[in-house]
Symmetry: C2
Subunit: 488 residues, 2 copies
């Protein structure tokens, strides 16, 4: 996912002298930070700071006071305490793969890079959990537990860069939600630093521990506005002995929804468990093939595609069971089933390489895509995709919409290109209002960040927003943790 | 579980004229409540109020102003608003099956019985969820979804009386946690009334909806101190086509832990999925048999017993797979495997009838058992059981300890009998300190209620308690929601 050209980012940032100016005006704060984490991990040179000061799409950027890279939870607590004393905002940052500006520093803030919190604990077989520092990338955590025959129940295309702490802070979804739920369901413990520098910790691995409010659950999905996640105890599951993947041609988005609805109970009754159900459509596939040079996945083109994966035990005849279930399911126009690892990976490429293909298209057009992550009742997916295409093309004749998503949760990733930058906010408004009017959520799995703050009221009532603000004021009264994210 | 004799409860309560007195002094508040829910559902007669004013163990009781039985969420909101205006505490109550006094009214409060919120929505096959009013008993919800071939991922012995709202308010565990997690993991949406009478609601069934803090997740396990849960959208799972149950004789509690550790990976690799792993011991089994007249489950007695259940598809040879896995597992002294429903239920009876057998023993002894629900790292279960027996018998030579539990989560239910009522608090202190010293939690799945407030500091740090109090003050500044629960 993070394919932005670092050289290009640095080029932008060297023009930006705000960071240096802010630092000059805040010598004491910078000195305090240096004493905590050391000069080598208090970054102020614009060309070094650059990678932390802009998101990979290039859409969000800020001029930080200094980037701080603490080595452990104690240093995080000390940095948060020092910033609180100085009245300096703190912006937690993991892999910086977010798409809504939730980890990009505001001007004059201290981005707190958590990448050095990279501890990896052993898998505890009794509780089926393992502890990780917040800065461990998901893929590294996956490899770490795979060595002992385990898997992590969360997976997503940005796995090489997205960190465990970031997954928790955004309650990330991804490609295994149909089986394991969102990140929330895979968290067995959290350690975090609160706005006052105090540390809260439930990392024992106790699977039942209901003693008062579960502060960790409150922090999950709070996007760094209530605390800085420093460590996470994740659940693990036994690694599947076998896997099968099918790519299915469908007549439409609504047709793909119907195929999944017909297929799922058939898979429930047989060997193998459904762990993924992804969707993409014809023009997105064409863009991916153009960008990657991949061949056609099926002999004939289809308006929409469903990619499913099942897992099972060593004796399960998974590809046969999947093929049989597909044959019995109405609406399947064509399908290819793979169980050999390279063939499975090849099918997944059609889905996972959408992100980079769309980013490249944005580069060609001179403006990054407007990336909107929404969810809908599955039955509404087809009609809403049609509606969104309609309202966009009426208002912006040159607009191009690429979309894909996680079908079982009704989660669509909408990528709008070809809209004049001056019209992006209005185009976003059109799309999100169309989604909300159909009973959908304006934020599925990417968070709200700074990007979607103006539209939070489409998905949350005044009473809910008032309660959220009360919680924020209670835990971060000075509003120094990730200001501008979630709230105005 | 709720086996208390209602006649005995009423006998106690008719002596108690505090309720009537309080009512006389609060005529306006009572009048306001009557106008909201109707006279028929504003209960003030001591012999009617009785069942709501004491828990089923008889250990906790209060003298309420009036019991109010709202018909819907609007009436709940109006009652909470009226009580807030009058400064009257509100105590939410579901099935009143709790064991820690969390739903028992304090003097002068309004117990809010949610049993009339009994709506049951259809299963939405696309999202695999169904909505229920907070007052629906778990067993009724289970029957409701079973009609369409689904199951609820939560089950516990008090299923006939415990309500969905109560399960959520306590984040109940039970007998399916090894497969489906605590109640938290099965909640796809919550509607609740906050302390100011406002209603927060996420009942759409959207499976990905990360827009700000998840207030529902904060309410789960908050024991009615932050809001009144009025409706819940629960996940459902396909009903298992086949089931197998095994009762396994083990050499000790630690031996049962080892058997489960050896058995679990064998079951992972074969057909069938482990959904329950319960433990009980020899003296508890003897008490159950004496109380129920049940025969011996195995030819010879054993120090400890493990009860496991697996589920699978229609073609799975579950009992054979379970028997084979047990044969290959070290530490199994004897085992019986059942798949026919009546035989499975007969094996479960040995575990589930512990509660009533212990309650009957308490009645014989003239004092209810001190019921303590704790969790431990599984490897510590055996040593801690020995330690608890040791410290109890040293301090109280007549003390009797019955215990059982949910083995995979290290969750023990400790029942202490034969201790003078004047020593109960000191005995509780001994047990909970022994558990905490071994890295355990003083509260696993029953909540803190009023019973365990003095010991919360054994499981939560000052920083965590300060954050909890800040959240409580933010959402219930007047402290009218379930006062005395969780906090002093």
């Amino acid at each position: 996912m993070p394919d932005a050209d670092p050289a290009a980012i640095r080029g932008d940032l060297t023009e930006n002298v705000d960071a240096a100016q802010a630092l000059t005006e805040n010598v004491d704060a910078a000195q305090a930070l240096t004493e905590i984490v050391g000069a080598a991990h208090t970054l102020t040179e614009p060309d070094v700071v650059g990678g932390y000061a802009v998101d990979w799409t290039g859409r969000w950027r800020g001029a930080p006071l200094a980037v701080v890279r603490p080595a452990d939870t104690g240093q995080v607590a000390a940095v948060v305490t020092a910033c609180a004393a100085a009245g300096v905002p703190v912006v937690p940052q993991g892999g910086n793969t977010g798409l809504v500006g939730g980890a990009v520093p505001v001007d004059g803030s201290v981005p707190l890079s958590l990448r050095r919190l990279d501890s990896r604990g052993p898998v505890d077989a009794a509780t089926r959990t393992a502890a990780f520092g917040a800065g461990v990338p998901l893929a590294e955590a996956q490899r770490h537990v795979a060595a002992d025959g385990w898997e992590i129940g969360v997976d997503l295309a940005a796995r090489d860069t997205a960190t465990i702490g970031g997954l928790v802070a955004t309650n990330a979804g991804g490609e295994r939600v149909i089986r394991h739920g969102l990140t929330r369901g895979q968290v067995a413990g959290i350690e975090a630093v609160l706005a006052d520098g105090s540390v809260v910790r439930r990392m024992t691995g106790l699977l039942k521990d209901n003693v008062g409010y579960d502060l960790g659950q409150l922090l999950i999905g709070s996007e760094g506005t209530l605390g800085v996640v420093t460590a996470v105890r994740l659940r693990v599951v036994p690694a599947a002995a076998r896997r099968a993947v099918a790519l299915v041609g469908c007549g439409s988005v609504a047709g793909a929804v119907d195929v999944l609805a017909g297929l799922r109970p058939r898979l429930d009754a047989g060997p193998g468990e459904l762990v993924a159900a992804e969707m993409f459509v014809d023009d997105g596939l064409a863009l991916v093939r153009e960008h990657t040079g991949l061949g056609a996945p099926l002999p004939d083109p289809h308006p929409a595609y469903l990619l499913v994966e099942t897992t099972g035990g060593p004796d399960d005849a998974l590809p046969e069971a999947l093929a049989e279930a597909l044959e019995a399911t109405e609406g399947v126009r064509d399908a290819v089933v793979a169980d050999e690892p390279a063939r499975r990976a090849a099918l997944w490429e059609y889905r996972e390489r959408h992100t980079e293909a769309v980013a490249a298209d944005g580069t060609r057009r001179g403006a990054p895509p407007v990336k909107l992550d929404v969810s809908l009742p599955p039955a509404s997916l087809g009609p809403v995709v049609d509606d969104v295409r309609g309202v966009l093309s009426s208002a912006y004749p040159d607009a191009v919409l690429y979309l894909w998503g996680h079908l079982a949760e009704g989660n669509l990733h909408l990528n709008v290109l070809g809209v004049d930058p001056a019209d992006e906010r209005a185009a976003t408004d059109l799309v999100l209002r169309t989604v909300a009017a159909a009973g959908g959520s304006i934020g599925a799995e990417h968070g709200i960040g700074r990007a979607k703050v103006p539209w939070v009221g489409l998905s949350r009532s005044p009473a809910e927003l008032a309660a959220m603000r009360a919680v924020k004021s209670a835990l971060d009264p000075a509003r120094l943790l990730n200001p501008g994210v979630l709230f105005d």
